[in-house]
Amino acid sequence: MTLSDTTIAELQELAGRYPQKRSALLPMLHLVQSAEGSVTTEGIERCAEILGISTAQVSGVATFYTMYKRRAMGEHHVGVCTNTLCAVMGGDEIFACLKDHLGVGNDETTEDGKITLEHIECNAACDYAPVMTVNWEFFDNQTPDSAVRLVDQLRAGETVQSTRGATITSWREAERVIAGFEDGLVDEGPAAGPASLVGLKIANERGWTAGMKPIAGTAKKAARKRPASKTAAVAEADTARAESETVDETKGDAS
């Protein structure tokens, strides 16, 4: 495969985004993977050429970071978190189950070229354990059954949506976004998943706030979601416990 003129122009564009062009090497390698399916020798040479450094220097970087793949990847990258917390909560069992179901080991690709399976380190979603990723999109609160269903859907080419993100595209398309080019899917998915909101929900139910000034003018529209006052919060709250605690808070404020 040869890198297209478009890709080379985009590599140069990435180099131009930084005060010193070598800073663009990580994004450039992401783009090479996106275009080529892995970090190829040609890709390394082109990066070296554009940045005016040696191929050894580029290779040194490409082999340091785990997201760079030197072997051809499957259409989808499936990650299972097996760092301690996810492992204990079920990640180990999910990973074992997927290896068995797909007939591959860690960092291997299925025969149909659809899936590369890898156990990954903590991906900052511990409140959704056990966590998986597909092309670095979150799949929260997984079980062995849901994991098998997920990879079957991916292999069958069905449309799959991240539990907290966008529709799954492909590993190569994901790498392009990571490199620095938008794909128009930003507005898919929620602002936050349920676990991200538990504290906020409790605070809203009980009328707890940080005591910030009310939002001026146009902000009224946004305020509709929040209780206007602690009294309003009491009215909205549906448990007796929240009510009594909120009343206590009000007393506290008055003193």
């Binding site: 970071y65 301690t84 069992e93 511990c126 079980t143 991240s162 602002a191 939002i215």
Partner: protein, 436 residues
């Protein structure tokens, strides 16, 4: 009287399309930006200093003081780098923040850049979070289109350019000097200090590196005032933070509260431990902070409180493990992580984590040898404080603390495998589902 939970950073996460500029503005976002950019940089630094804001990335260094270390008489360009490489096991606060409310971070970036005299800022976000990267890139574009980034922001004459830079999978890049090397297009390896980044950071220029949560807290300090911020929290640990609860609790998730709340309060807010669970051990701030046990349920979770019981507040990554969990299995898995992520620069860390893993593997499988516990402690002693950065130090924390509290489990590793003492199926969530 302060409320138990105080949503500030998390307050708009449930809003419709919270990640857009429009939604952020309806919440008062960017409303104080113009005023902030017209404020003298030195006054902003003072304001943040006086607020008592301390770094939220783990170390707790006073943010305003960090800003004041930038030598303003140095003719070189100054840089602001946001550390969004959230990778410490258990830590999961910055990722949801940037997914839901990227403009909060960007507004903080603009204000902080002005305060330190930086015309160029970077958000170094870990590469393995596609949707977060999408949201950051879109928010950055929107901010440019609205004249909130770029040249002469809001007619104030202030210029700030922002680059969203994605990493490529390396825990070590959360260490600030390794992050700088990575951002320069090198392998992510820590630098020897001094010189500190404030003097020679990115491209050997004065650089401030701050955590996402620290920078995202800045707009609220400017808007509500330093006294409001300092009025939350405890004497030396001011303000609010995000506590991330995970593991064997009924309601894992993000809880934003003033510094000083206790683990007992947090677990109770979410309805307690999962059915049938008793707390066995927990991490206060990720796997690099020494483990604590049920006897520490009532210590205030602020920098001083956690420090007083021999651990560290870290990133408030509260990973909760119950009585079904083998501490040896957990410590082995963390140690394997540190071995995998050690950058290889310093011998004690590179070789030490390798040896630690081998010993823990045999203890985990019930093949431990006489003297293995002493050997582990001796190795830890030879790693701690003997490398450029804190990765090696962090690797020793779970081991020494686990031996301190659960020595008998390590002794059992001389004859019985951890999976026999603690069948892993009992710890999983779906086992729980099956029995209910």
């Amino acid at each position: 009287m302060t409320d138990t939970l105080t949503p500030v950073l998390t307050d708009d996460w449930a809003d419709d399309r919270a990640w857009t500029l429009e939604a952020y503005r309806t919440r008062g976002g960017y409303s104080v930006l113009e005023q902030a950019l017209k404020t003298k940089p030195a006054d902003l630094v003072e304001q943040v200093k006086d607020s008592g804001l301390r770094g939220r990335g783990g170390a707790g260094f006073p943010t305003g003081m960090k800003w004041s270390f930038i030598p303003q008489d140095n003719p070189k360009p100054k840089y602001l780098v946001v550390n969004a490489d959230e990778s410490e096991p258990g830590t999961c606060k910055d990722i949801p923040l940037m997914m839901a409310s990227p403009h909060k971070l960007i507004e903080g970036v603009i204000i902080a850049s002005h305060a330190i005299g930086a015309k160029h800022a970077f958000i170094y976000v870990r590469g393995e979070v596609l949707h977060v990267i999408r949201r950051l890139r879109a928010a950055c574009r929107e901010a440019y289109e609205a004249g909130l980034l770029g040249q002469d922001i809001l007619g104030t004459g202030v210029n700030v350019d922002l680059v969203i830079h994605a990493g490529a999978g390396a825990y070590i890049c959360g260490e600030e000097t390794a992050l700088l090397d990575s951002l320069e297009g090198l392998r992510g390896q820590p630098r020897l200090r001094p010189p500190f980044p404030a003097v020679e950071g990115l491209y050997a220029c004065p650089t401030v590196i701050n955590n996402v949560e620290s920078i995202a807290s800045v707009p609220s300090i400017v808007r509500e005032g330093k006294d409001w911020f300092a009025g939350l929290g405890t004497e030396k640990s001011k303000g609010y933070v995000i506590y991330s609860l995970s593991g064997h609790v009924k309601t894992p998730g993000q809880y934003e509260a003033p510094l000083g709340i206790t683990l007992r309060e947090l677990i109770d807010l979410g309805g307690g431990m999962r059915e049938g669970s008793e707390l066995k051990f927990w991490t206060p701030g990720g796997s690099s902070t020494p483990l604590l046990t049920a006897e520490h349920l009532d210590i205030p979770l602020d920098y001083e409180g956690v420090g007083s019981v021999g651990s560290m507040l870290g990133t408030r990554a509260l990973q909760i493990f119950d009585q079904t969990t083998s501490v040896v299995r957990c410590v082995l898995r963390w140690t394997e992580f540190y071995k995998h992520e050690s950058c290889g620069k310093c011998t004690p860390c590179r070789e030490g984590t390798f040896w630690l893993t081998q010993i823990l593997q045999r203890l985990d499988s019930g093949q431990g040898q006489e003297g293995d516990i002493e050997l582990l402690l001796d190795l830890c002693d030879n790693i701690l404080g003997r490398s450029f950065c804190a990765l090696g130090d962090g690797a020793t924390s779970p081991i020494t603390s686990a031996i301190q509290y659960f020595r008998d489990e390590f002794e059992a590793g001389m004859h019985t495998a951890s999976h026999e003492l603690f069948p892993p199926a009992a710890s999983t969530l779906f086992k729980q589902e099956a029995t209910v």
